[in-house]
Symmetry: C2
């Protein structure tokens, strides 16, 4: 990654960003940019937000009046290095070599530059950045300067800045809207070789502190909206100096005393030294990769790209009860840092299978904000239940365009699906008792509110939008109805599970939630009679009641530069056509795996022809379905564009942040796709295929405490620690330590 | 109308406003209000607008970026009268008597107050306000002060004010949005006993001048944003003085030199004197009422209310090529002064039947702005054709909520319908040649763009919203499809009419519009195969494909204060239910009169049960349909609430302006309703009924130059000047001067 053109730099800011799930920093240059370069400078705290009013030219009842937005907090990236009067930067002087990479095993990003100053001094700079997994408040920037031929002083100015330069594309609804000021500076301070900024959000009544400490003594000077720390180091030719900036972020959601905590951690870090934190980082990641790492023996590029995505999932995931995973993680301001359904459907499966404790925590987030969802349900006209917001940070609905927002009722089932799947995989019944069942039940109530029986006695869910946002406000979206059916069935079944486990505890839960037998019967009846639109002639499920009556899209005469369609056609024009952003019928097949294979196949090819993949959530699903119907070559192609989506900026918006759901999709395309893993009532199912391009691949899961390794080559080999039961190609096996059977 | 409570005053501001179709002034008190009173002070010029940016939190392609808004122009209402140091106003001193009325025969509003000043002087004030139909730029305020017991000086200060106090309800999408400044003051001037303000719009590059002249010499003094004219008159007890303010408005859309024109008209008016303009007004109105006046012999209250509505129609209608009729006429800022489909469907019928030259002009407005509609068509994804904007002033789409805006494709057919009906009534083939056919054809093209054949070969129009905005984004809305069918049929037929009339002229029109035979065939085929959703079991047309599968609305448990539903329920909740704002299927029956009577009847009762009449466009339609199926008592009830809608503030928002479409609906409920008039290919049809409450009613039409009077009592009697053909109860008659047949 050597390119210095603006486009590449913007992408690298995202791709090389460093995050730990609490705080994330884009990979902006410490020394800044040349005039004329645009940069999206950003540092974000997961779950930390301001609110801003939403203005509507024509308002309707129930439109959210304000939205949370992830705050671009104080910028602590600035480090300005002066060599004999020249300021180091890659645009002046002579860059002899530059190299940037993200080391996913050690958990830091490195930028290495061999540079000749305008005055001819030769030096090598190494910037190492880390977001510590061991100490979530801590980011470090470790600068090593090696002199080739320069002897003299190096002056370093390190800055914390209140103002953040950013730019956004007002025409792209997917970009964030962070043009408004969201913070106001409260104070600038320094003490004990640390300095800090403290600011308050404008509307949400929150505050954030940023404190820096250093490995060398500094002189501090405060400006009006920034604070500088200065030192002068001496260097001799052929020697190195080391400058380390320990940056801590604290905020009033997560910390009681943001000022003291920030200073204390910053000071402690400087005291313990950078190597201590590098070691801790390595330890954390060794444990992570022990379960997460996927091997593709014959293609190290694929292996890197795939595991790069897994690393980003880890880096993005909130690890406390106040946060989940934003659409862009903490790598950019796209989608305003909101949490969507993507977390549950695309990202949590990875954590469920490899880090169940992180999955459990992410699932619990929805419980933390369940009251807001119950309020939203009332606002949407329902008498009871919880309506999960389409996009949110602190729990209330932030979607101002309901057709592709609040209308996506399926998010209720998606959240429940993730909890159910987690339960079936872990058998963590305490989770159900603690919060899981309450979320499942309250969200299930919505289906009784929203649905009704048609004249044929079929249960209809009308006037909703499925995941495919290229048709909106439809009746009986197959995805929605099929997931709602699953949701309702399990809302009933898990009640029985809980009752059997502890009747008294269950009864008191029933009292709390006012669960009555009639309601449970209604749920069962609705599930049994759920309308799942099917066309006999085409042998496919219809995306919704009317999909087949729509006009065909003229793909032949749609030039490439008209994609994504949403940026070039009015929504009504798109909605009116048989054209998909992502095939949600196919996603239902992947998630539920409950229809005949010939139907899967016919549907897949029907929708494939009409799917633009304008959503980054789309190709991975096609990859999984293609694997499922044994069209491995197609699966491989979709898999490749999935794992390279951000690395190659396929959707031309990586600069706004990583597509974290796609990263989860990359994992799923491998594990649910090629390996065909499914979690069902009676345990794990596998149905592996292998792309011709590889001789073997392998991955591991954390199955109820056992590390299970699955290797697929000409055969499928399963290693477990003790004993597991597993279903392969629909045949059940008891595996004691090892199983080896041939691929079908 | 004597009430001085704030609520009544706000309503009176609207009800007693004076307009002539070019300029309109709300009936605010000349002397202003007491502290704590809110008033919507307003003066509006038809078609005069500023533009303002529309902000979207989540924008999609093709959302209009700016909207025109009717400007609340300079306020020239202020007249402050000082009696012995006391300022006259109705809140201080002692109001012995107050009376206000709109004289619809003479064309002015009168306010008469017998007042005792705080010092005990007894006087009588008469304010007469007129918007001149003879001189459209002219408004007059004529103040007569009669002294009972006061002898001394009266000081009068007359004002033109740049700033306008107004207030609006930000939560009501139907109110206007005129909180932003739309004007900036350019200059304040006085000369020749006139004074004036000239201002420029902020964004639309237009300007407006307001000039006042007087019947007495005045002293002028300019403030920063206003100009005052002062005079002192002497009065003796038992004598009167007369003060007249001639107010002229000019604007840069309608006038080349706004300053000179305004001054010239103001001076000329003062010179000619008020009585000249009263005479002209009377002459104009005598001619108007000659055709328009409706008699209800047994109920003078009904007769007044009905003709009050007709007077407001006249007062609201643009009489030049730059303007049409706003949703509130010129009586208030509601709906930002936008023109909707209401003009063509609810208001133009009145003009077609009584003042065809005004109708013709209103129809032409859409031609003036056809290019904007063609641009909009492209923006909406269509290759050709014109897409009429849902709401506009100068021609571009101003609707920011497309579900109840741009999605209402039916407006294309509505505009065409009005032109076709006008043609069939007047046989004005020149209108077709001059502009009518071009509008019909370009708007008809949209149906080929938007529609497609389903697998059964039926022509579908998907993803549109019908007039009933309580279901949105549906497929095959019956109203839309049935009107589109009519539109397409006549686009083809009128081509033949033009060809037969003048083949050469038609050919050159075909060249201009690139009309080819294939396209005409496609139109014919689409019309023939148009899907008109019908349910055999219920014997009704379905409002759209999915209407019957929706959930029933729980009317029983919906308290009265939850109406109109749109202000209390999320749109998705409303859309999901069998609940109507207005029954558009029934409106189609009224307009097209082309279905079996049993179907009309069954549909009417089916939809009636589910219609809230939350739209002011609704009750009149039910009245017409009830008459059509001979349920005269129901028709009468709907008729009564129609004619009293604004007079009794039934919808609780008369303060925002008159419901002009409802005024047109009042006319139609009488003429299309009770008298059962329809305009068909072979002329006029009547199917009269008579409410039991009346012994007789009568109205007149201007039928191809002949005044035709229709009287309904126990019989129907038709008087015409020469000879007409007419169909009564489906039987054809040739009427020579008079026809008399019994009612069925």
């Amino acid at each position: 990654m050597k390119k210095l053109d603006n486009y590449s730099l913007l992408n690298q800011e995202t791709l090389l960003s460093t995050s730990n799930g609490y705080v994330g920093m884009r990979a902006n240059f410490e020394e800044g940019y040349k005039n004329g370069y645009t940069s999206i400078t950003g540092t974000y705290i997961n779950g930390f937000y301001d609110t801003s009013e939403i203005y509507y030219d024509e308002i309707c009842y129930g439109f959210p009046r304000s939205a949370q937005k992830m705050v671009n907090v104080h910028n602590a990236q600035g480090i300005y290095i002066y060599i004999d009067g020249d300021i180091f930067n890659v645009f002046d002087g002579n860059v002899i070599e530059i190299n940037r990479e993200l080391d996913i095993k050690n958990g830091y990003a490195i930028r290495k530059i061999r540079w000749q100053s305008p005055k001819g001094h030769d030096l090598e700079f190494t910037f190492k950045r880390m977001a510590s997994f061991a100490k979530l408040e801590l980011l470090t920037i470790d600068v090593k300067i090696k002199s080739i031929n320069y002897t003299g002083d190096i002056q370093i100015i390190s800055k914390i800045d209140f103002t953040v330069d950013s730019f956004l594309n007002v025409d792209d609804p997917r970009a964030g809207n962070d043009s408004e000021a969201m913070l106001q500076l409260r104070s600038v301070k320094s003490r004990d070789n640390t300095h800090m900024l403290i600011s308050d959000t404008i509307n949400s009544n929150l505050c954030v502190a940023t404190c820096c400490s250093y490995n060398v003594p500094m002189d501090f000077k405060h400006g009006e909206t920034s604070t500088n720390a200065k030192c002068i180091l001496h260097i001799n030719a052929d020697e190195s100096v080391h400058f380390i900036k320990y940056i801590t972020y604290t905020d009033s959601i997560h910390h009681k005393n943001i000022e003291n905590t920030a200073i204390q951690i910053a000071k402690q870090s400087a005291l313990e030294g950078i190597n201590f934190y590098y070691d801790e980082q390595k330890k954390y990641l060794d444990k992570f990769w022990q379960y997460a790492y996927i091997e593709v023996n014959d293609d190290k590029n694929v292996e890197y790209a795939l595991n790069y995505n897994l690393y980003q999932l880890l880096s993005s995931a909130g690890k406390d009860k106040y946060s989940s995973i934003g659409a862009k993680g903490l790598s950019g301001g796209g989608y305003d840092g909101h949490y969507f359904w993507d977390t549950e459907i695309y990202m949590i499966p990875f954590f469920t299978l490899t880090m169940p404790e992180v999955a459990r925590n992410l699932l619990k987030f929805r419980y933390q904000v369940l009251n807001a969802a119950k309020d939203r349900s009332k606002e949407m006209g329902h008498k009871t239940g919880a309506k999960i917001p389409w996009r949110t940070i602190s729990g209330s609905e932030c979607s101002s365009y309901y057709a592709a927002g609040s209308a996506q009722y399926h998010i209720n089932a998606d959240i429940a699906y993730a909890i159910i799947q987690y339960y079936l995989f872990t058998k963590d019944i305490d989770m159900l008792k603690e919060f899981g069942y309450e979320v499942i039940y309250e969200t299930a109530r919505i289906w009784l509110e929203v649905g009704n029986y048609n004249l044929k006695g079929q249960y209809c869910i009308n006037t909703v939008t499925g995941p495919d946002e290229y048709t909106a406000i439809v009746n009986n979206n197959y995805y929605t109805n099929s997931l709602a059916k699953y949701h309702l069935e399990w809302a009933v079944k898990l009640g029985d599970v809980l009752k059997d486990d502890d009747r008294k505890a269950f009864n008191s839960l029933c009292q709390k939630l006012v669960i009555v037998k009639d309601e449970i019967n209604e749920m069962q009846k609705a599930a049994q009679n759920m309308l799942l639109p099917f066309d006999d002639k085409l042998n496919i499920h219809m995306q919704d009641d009317s999909f087949l009556n729509k006009k065909e899209w003229d793909f032949e005469n749609t030039p490439k530069d008209k994609y994504p369609l949403l940026l070039h056609y009015h929504p009504l024009h798109i909605y009116r056509h048989k054209v998909l952003k992502q095939a949600d019928t196919i996603l239902s097949y992947v998630l539920l795996d409950n229809v005949r294979e010939d139907v899967m196949k016919d549907s897949y090819y029907y929708y494939k022809q009409r799917t633009t993949h304008d959503s980054s959530l789309s190709p991975c699903v096609h990859s999984m379905m293609a694997s499922r119907i044994r069209s491995t070559h197609e699966a491989y192609d979709y898999f490749m564009s999935t794992i390279r989506l951000d690395l190659d900026d396929i959707n031309r918006n990586t600069k706004d942040g990583l597509h974290i759901a796609n990263a989860g999709g990359a994992y799923m395309a491998m594990v649910y796709g090629f390996a065909g893993l499914r979690i069902k009532e009676d345990g794990i199912y596998l149905r592996p295929v292998k792309p011709n391009e590889w001789n073997s691949y392998s991955f591991k899961i954390n199955y109820q405490g056992q590390l299970v390794k699955i290797t697929v080559d000409k055969a499928i080999t399963i290693h477990c620690e003790k004993q597991i039961e597993i279903t392969i190609y629909d045949k059940r096996y008891v595996v004691k330590k090892k199983l080896h059977i041939n691929l079908v």
